[in-house]
């Protein structure tokens, strides 16, 4: 995880089930690369095509709800998603994101529009859209969760810190 992220916003709606949109669960015989090219087609046709590495997804509440597969996170990472901002996340999606090195920001999304350039300070818990003079704070993740993200996920984190200690 980079603690500072600057990227263009791509909007999605409420209660997006990422199993449905970002895994091969419903695409038997297809691989993750295929899933990454067609991610979110069902709710926003062409979404993945206009997405560039380093961009940010901004979505409605309960993003990733009822999504239990970590493969969905791997697909989001293949797409180059730098972070997802939403008012709330599905529980297992939240776990899987941290475990697989995808940064999440739990914050209200009012005022964030398609195409805005947003900058995120994950350590300080601050979100900015400079051209709109919008500044919003959010609660940063605890240090160990940030360390997991910094390491790129739980498995690389444990290789470096097999006792979970970060000091």
């Amino acid at each position: 995880m980079k603690t500072l992220i600057v990227g263009k916003i791509h909007l999605l709606g409420e209660k997006i089930n990422t199993d449905l949109h970002c895994s091969t669960k419903y695409l038997p015989g297809k691989d993750s690369a295929y899933a990454a090219k067609h991610a979110f087609d069902g709710v926003s046709p062409g979404f993945a095509t206009s997405f560039a590495t380093g961009d940010v997804i901004v979505a409605g509440s309960d993003f990733g709800i009822n999504s239990s597969r970590e493969q969905a996170i791997q697909v989001l990472r293949l797409m180059g998603v730098a972070a997802v901002i939403a008012p709330s996340f599905g529980r297992q999606f939240f776990r899987n994101a941290i475990n697989n090195g995808l940064s999440l920001v739990e914050a209200p999304i009012e005022g964030l529009s398609q195409g805005d350039e947003v900058s995120l300070d994950l350590q300080e818990g601050q979100l900015k859209v400079e051209k709109k003079s919008l500044v919003r704070s959010f609660s940063a993740l605890p240090t160990f969760a940030q360390a997991i993200l910094n390491a790129g996920g739980l498995i690389p984190f444990l290789e470096a810190h097999p006792d979970w200690s970060i000091h």
């Binding site: 709800i65 239990s68 970590e70 160990f144 498995i155």
Partner: protein
């Protein structure tokens, strides 16, 4: 402010540090489970660990229950890999026919009061029936537990649900959950830990308590923990569980919501296809023709459930044209059902009794598929469109007794007419 059950268990497993809802903690895990539907991913994650020695693998069970018996080469091969892993690492292995993960874990004595148990499955909430914290995780989580014995958790908020009185005859734990689904909706308890308390819970046996904790997953709950009493302790002892570390919630614990259920006056409930929270009293649908009846799964495939079916069908025949399948939740339950004469009574009544497993629950082994527009009545936990392999077929969900009453008459029937007392296996 005092602590809820989930806060107490997470606090004690995180080194007795103070915790409150919303905190993130790293906690010691007592036991982990992976089943054959998710183990291939977990084993992939475990392979990414450079560690060749997994010190906590012995506190893990691998369960071959979803693809049981395996329906294709891929599933059979996944089983080969799981057996080899268990043998190499010294993990417990439950093979095909042994039963559904959430049943074999407690039966195998793998969990006790106060424990923290994770499994690669949403219904891992079941372990809450034993005053333990059971919750669902994914492959990377299991890999971390096998390597370090620990995992991170976000402490959930708690919701207290009091069942004011014992349930009347013909009404079961299943009906309680269905009534809550009607009240709260399918996501009504999202990410929360439920605590079921009250006389209604004390009166229940372990089988029904397991239904309460298990079925909390449909409410969106992360856990559903019950208090322990003599029944809990006796059951655990009989199954060789570790010494219990009973936990009690503090009287001033903080709950986001408190509810009570007027359980003495609850009627049998039925969820209509295709939504688990579209629930009505059975009476409202009385007379609806049914074609296929199913009793089984980790929610309602236990001995008490089978006893309800036997009570209604013994010495009788299924309605003409109705097909019925009963799947005990474990080999142990199957053997008990044999010993008690249940299997013979059901077989004579026209029921097909099959070996323990998940196969029928989510159309994994494809042998309970309804025909076009056929109406299914089932004691399972989910009824979304196509769950049993035919989207044109609605699935009604009710207690085992409700399912059996419909199978006997060929139409939705209030099961209370068959019960003067509450019966147990």
């Amino acid at each position: 402010m005092g602590l809820t059950l989930v806060e107490k268990i997470l606090s004690s497993h995180a080194g007795d540090i103070p915790v409150k809802a919303g905190d993130m903690v790293v906690a010691n895990v007592d036991f982990a489970m992976m089943h054959d539907a998710r183990a291939p991913n977990a084993l992939k994650m475990i392979q990414k660990l450079k560690a060749s020695h997994l010190p906590y693998a012995k506190q893990t069970a691998l369960v071959l229950d979803h693809h049981s018996p395996p329906q294709n080469i891929e599933a059979a091969n996944a089983h080969i890999a799981m057996r080899a892993f268990a043998k190499q690492q010294g993990s417990h292995l439950y093979d095909t026919g042994d039963g559904i993960c959430h049943q074999v874990l407690p039966e195998g004595g793998h969990l006790s009061c106060g424990d923290l148990v994770v499994g690669t499955d949403t219904h891992s909430t079941t372990y809450g029936a034993f005053n333990a914290l059971g919750t669902g995780v994914e492959g990377t989580d299991v890999a971390a537990v096998l390597m370090t014995g620990k995992l991170w958790f976000k402490v959930p908020q708690s919701m207290r649900i009091e069942l004011l009185a014992p349930l009347p005859p013909g009404v079961w734990a299943k009906d309680v959950t269905l009534s809550l689904l009607k009240r709260l909706g399918a996501e009504g308890a999202n990410y929360r830990s439920l605590e079921y308390v009250g006389e209604g819970v004390s009166a229940m046996g372990i089988d029904e308590r397991m239904t309460l904790s298990n079925h909390a997953a449909e409410l969106g709950a992360k856990a559903a923990i019950l208090e322990a009493d003599e029944k809990t302790l006796a059951w655990l002892k009989a199954h060789g569980a570790r010494e219990p570390r009973v936990v009690k919630a503090d009287s001033d614990a903080g709950y986001v919501e408190r509810l009570s259920v007027d359980s003495a006056h609850l009627a049998p409930q039925l969820a209509r296809g295709h939504q688990i929270d579209d629930v009505c009293d059975v009476g409202e649908m009385a007379g609806q023709k049914v074609d296929l009846a199913f009793v089984g799964t980790c929610t309602n495939g236990r001995l008490d459930d089978i006893a309800q079916v036997v009570h209604i069908l013994k010495g009788r025949r299924l309605a003409s044209g109705v097909r019925m399948i009963v799947t005990p939740a474990s080999r142990h339950i199957y053997l008990e059902a044999l010993r008690l004469g249940y299997v013979e009574a059901l077989t004579r009544a026209g029921v097909m009794v099959e070996p323990a497993g998940c196969g029928a629950c989510a159309n994994i082994t494809s042998h309970v598929i309804p025909g076009d527009q056929q109406v299914v009545i089932s004691s399972a936990n989910r009824n979304f469109k196509g769950r049993l392999g035919n989207p044109s077929s609605p699935i009604l969900i009710g207690s085992a007794a409700t399912v059996a009453a419909a199978a006997l008459t060929g139409k939705v029937t209030d099961p209370r007419e068959f019960f003067v007392d509450r019966i147990y296996a």
